[in-house]
Symmetry: C2
Subunit: 251 residues, 2 copies
């Protein structure tokens, strides 16, 4: 009998070229499927994720589903995963769900975190886990710009070209900036995110932080619906997919 | 004119086979010397460290000295180092010292930290930075064992064989265990440490934590002066050389 597993997974994206990419490079999907297939004595297991992540991007709460003919008690999946995957990938929690559940199509929202190391000197231990940004930034100015992007907008200015989506309208439920010691964390919760959207948002907020842009200019950038009006795409290694929401209710 | 630089350096030891080892593997000394030699247009710069660190061991405060015929303002050395070394090595601070200063021979004490991840499941982001130890441990039992190793003792039981030191007597000024969220940190301050001493101490304290050894057994292990009586050598990747002390006075 087949069981459908919904699993929350964490990974350090440093050594991967992303979730699913071209050949000749190691991808997360491929390595996870290989581990699960090994567990199933070679019977191919296909996994479905809430969405892709790019090269170097991390996850604390990526969510996947797959079918298995084994029954592993839910609380044992994290331990089981330790034997299946390399140490930079793990199952955080798992549960059995209805066979109709789909990690991608049933996702109602996502939360991303972007970590900026706001110091003058690098930190050898966080080089893969934060975006080192040595220029002084004014956090209050960036916070003034946050309300402009909250709500439902056409985020075409914050979407990398080369993607074919039917609509570039998305809703951001909450955007905030947290100070954690010498780091600034940008947190975004929304019903969905366009390709590179979080990274371009961060790149644009940093322009506000350094004074190259005024907080209220964020409105004009949004309205332009033009990628060229926004800031640079911040690097992937500062980004974390924190969680995927499937239930209705408070985020 | 030659200037002698005393530099405090930090490194992520993950990708190195140690400070100075055999050929055919990347070592910290070699990579640092290569960077400094490049800065000096090919004139070989030799560095001297307070001591070696093993494969995978990290440092927040390793200390080195070297001579240079350039004058870089002390506060500029960290920035300069960013261009000389790969991103897993950096100069934290630097100062110019008397030409008689020696990073190794003038060291009066060292502080090490050992990070244990005391959780049931691994953490993908800390796999290179903590020793994952899923067995439950009783911290209070381990703390009861700390006083036995403080003070001046023959630490032969806590020294890996194959080293030729004239004396295995060392003084530990302070040994403590700190709880940091889901991590336990063992902190040792002493006038010097034998080969693998901190890692064997941690391996032995963990035996006390799991109940395989009583706190007061630590006394007998010390007195045996026999490596086989102590616990396992904990892995290198949990260990950090925190600082090297050169001045007399409170540690």
């Amino acid at each position: 009998m087949k069981h459908r597993v919904k699993a929350v997974i964490a990974y350090d994206g440093t050594n991967y070229s992303g979730w699913q990419v071209q050949q000749n490079s190691k991808t997360l999907q491929e390595v996870i499927e290989k581990g699960l297939t090994k567990m199933h004595e070679g019977r191919k297991v296909t996994i479905f994720a809430s969405g892709r992540t790019d090269a170097g991007v991390h996850a604390n709460g990526q969510t996947i589903h797959f079918d298995t003919d084994y029954y592993v008690p839910p609380e044992r999946w994290p331990i089981t995963s330790a034997g299946l995957f390399p140490p930079d990938i793990q199952i955080v929690s798992a549960e059995y769900v209805e066979p109709s559940f789909h990690a991608r199509y049933d996702a109602l929202g996502k939360e991303y975190r972007y970590r900026v190391l706001a110091t003058r000197t690098r930190d050898v231990f966080r080089r893969h886990y934060t975006y080192f940004y040595p220029k002084p930034v004014q956090v209050e100015k960036m916070r003034e710009a946050l309300p402009f992007i909250e709500g439902t907008h056409n985020f075409a200015s914050f979407c990398s070209t080369g993607t074919s989506v039917t609509s570039t309208v998305r809703t951001i439920y909450e955007a905030r900036i947290e100070a954690h010691g010498d780091e600034l964390h940008f947190v975004f919760k929304g019903n969905g995110f366009l390709y590179n959207m979080v990274r371009i948002l961060v790149g644009t907020f940093l322009l506000v932080g350094t004074g190259s842009m005024k907080p209220e200019d964020m409105q004009a950038v949004l309205e332009a619906e033009d990628r060229k009006k926004a800031g640079r795409t911040a690097p992937g290694h500062g980004l974390y997919l924190e969680r995927v929401v499937y239930e209705e209710g408070p985020f």
